[in-house]
Amino acid sequence: MDFWVEFLGSLLNGLLTTLQMVLIAAPAGVIMGLLLGTMRVYGGRIISSISFAITAVFRGFPLLVTLFILFFGLPEVGIYISPFWAAVTGFVLCSGAYISEYVRGSILSVEEGQSLAARSIGMTKFQEILYIILPQAIRRAIPSISNEIAYMIQYSSLAFAIGVQEMFSVSKTFNSIYFRSVEIFSALAITYLAIEGIATYIFKIIEKRFRVPP
């Protein structure tokens, strides 16, 4: 039917936008989380407080609020961001905050003996963190991080609220024209499930690749 061709075509476009957002925001969020988490554990009082504050704010604000502030609020102080980049920034801040908590937890879970051994062969604190602690901490955090990315895929739908033409936005538009709600949103749901399935599969491979022992 014409409807399906039109809808699926537009949905595909929306999917591309969704994927673009996620593929940019996910790595950025992980990096932000790593930095914040490490800062929180190893920074002095000032650095770890700043890191804590950032984490607390972006975990505490609903993602929608963050998006609205970035897109509707910032122009009031002279900062104008496009819908796409406001959305990406919001995702990075939100996921980064959550990931920093997972990273922090996994750093703290590395046994003290590893640190003692590193120091006993003459490593500086920096070397100890970089070569001994973080490699182990990151491995332990992989399941939580991949869970967080799965959430990001789901919550990417919220970008519609600031005008990004992603999958949900497209579906909403079609719904308001054709009113074939069950079909439209079921198809959308299945699409999200499919993307998440693929993402989960990729993460399983990543986890296997980095497991010790292999």
Binding site: G60, I69, F72, E76, S157, N175, F185, S186, Y192, L193
Partner: protein
Amino acid sequence: MTSYSFFLSYIPFIAEGALWTICLVGGGIGLGFIIGIPVALGQVYGGRTLRYVIEPYLWFFRGVPLLVQLFLFYWGLLPSIGFKLDPLETSILVLGLRSGAYQSQIFRSAMESVEKGQFLAAMSIGMSRGQAMLYIILPQALRISIPGWANEYAIMLKDSAICFSLGVMEILTRARYTAIATGMALLPYLFAGIFFILLTNLGTGILNTAYKRLRIPGSIGV
């Protein structure tokens, strides 16, 4: 400045949204609890046929975005079975189904972490399976689950904001109206954000105090 005081006059309006937010959260977690416990029991003790029902439920309600679920139910599924629910009711239904999926997992892992020996000990003093569940396993599992529930509350609180998309008059919806009415966006949304943080801390604070009071000394992992 007049626009600043204009905004301040809207604060009660935004704050009133907390009532709707609490309805959403309370209803969602409550419904989720009622669904979650049986699902968890079904997963741990049920047979294979039960799993054919439970697993798709979990997969759908944890994997599909909340936004999509809300629209699917409100515009699609409910009308198609002739059920008329308003935005608030639909939201609570969907939040509850979703929360049930997550809570069932919290509860399932809590039950699995109650030592096997507890069950055997209960049976050996003559309790039936049902009694062992009711008096020995469940009370411990419920206590162990409290941190998980505190987390679920925090998540649910933030998810409730998504219900703005159906027009529920909760905090974010009202902040949005305020922004449109006053022409100022930054203040209303910042206020909303801070308000959410306060509600989160209040709720988790209460749950954590309850947890400390009810805690089993020496229990695992906490």
